[in-house]
Symmetry: C3
Subunit: 134 residues, 3 copies
């Protein structure tokens, strides 16, 4: 089972909560036990599991990555001026696998699934969702 979701982004760097979309797919496919694999196409975006009480941790993720991986000092910048976006995406990674337990996403209370945009805004980011029934 596989589904596709498309998410627009409106910031150059930002996190977007996609938990609701993944939850709807788990519900629709009626999987009770297994997992869901969430993968974003494009080499300047990533998927991260992170807290969603408010947007403070999301802002901190961007602050941290900008500090560790500053803009404008990379070899790739001579081509596309987005070397930092590729490095952030590679380090965080394009996919996460989340267990499905008793028909629900096996996230804890404060764990949500985020699309990380590092080279936006983009009209659309394509996400592939693949499910496994155990």
């Amino acid at each position: 089972m596989q589904r596709f979701i498309q998410i627009p982004t409106d910031k150059h760097n930002g996190l977007y909560d996609i938990t609701r979309h993944i939850r709807d797919i788990v519900k629709e496919t009626k999987i009770l036990t297994g997992f869901v694999h969430v993968y974003v196409q494009g080499a300047t975006a990533a998927i991260m599991i992170q807290e969603n009480w408010d947007d403070s941790v999301q802002n901190d993720v961007i602050t941290l990555l900008n500090k560790l991986i500053p803009h404008g000092i990379w070899q790739h910048d001579h081509q596309d001026n987005n070397g930092d976006a590729h490095l952030k995406a590679g380090l965080v990674g394009p996919g996460e696998t989340i267990p499905v337990v008793d028909g629900q996403l096996g996230l804890s209370t404060w764990q949500n699934i985020f699309l990380c945009e590092f080279d936006g805004p983009r009209q659309v980011r394509n996400i592939v969702v693949t499910l496994y029934r155990a």
Copy 2:
């Protein structure tokens, strides 16, 4: 097939080797070929594959993460004072998938599976283990 393990932690930041628990589950479920997905719930812990000759690399992991992600300078600290724990957890990630080969975990000699605690001690960390038979 899915199993649950619970691990207590006694340090604020520390790595805990859970390979034996995962190996027991693979043995019990009698999978010959496939993989095992290990996922920790809670947005301040993570799973890392790392060397286990002695505890030097485990200590180095904590030293590195404290250097890259210092305590006390994050927006989220105004709420919970644990912004660094969320950032460490998000960067390392809550899950790892390990192949099962000939009925054994497909780890190399020095690869072990570690629970990373970034906001302990905790009475329990809940880990979801989901298996796939190829």
Copy 3:
């Protein structure tokens, strides 16, 4: 379904594009929908999804990791002098899962699959490829 590939490395730190090998395995196994899990054994190597227009981003990945995780300052260096290699491998991670969509790897145009060598050269790095048909 599971396959094994062996890749030699000729640099101390370097990225090696293994996309072609994984694409051949997907083609051979005739999976139409599902995913492929790519896992490198050995605690000083990793798998990263990254751009492959030319080698600039690959060089930038090595530059970044050497900057974040310098050589020679770790507790583990007193044993093997390769503490940085273990830390780089642990942070990037030994595996990636890539969806298979319509019989093709679900990578976008510029996403390729790289073996990351952090303690080479090595005669061989062993990679385990496990496939799931959805």
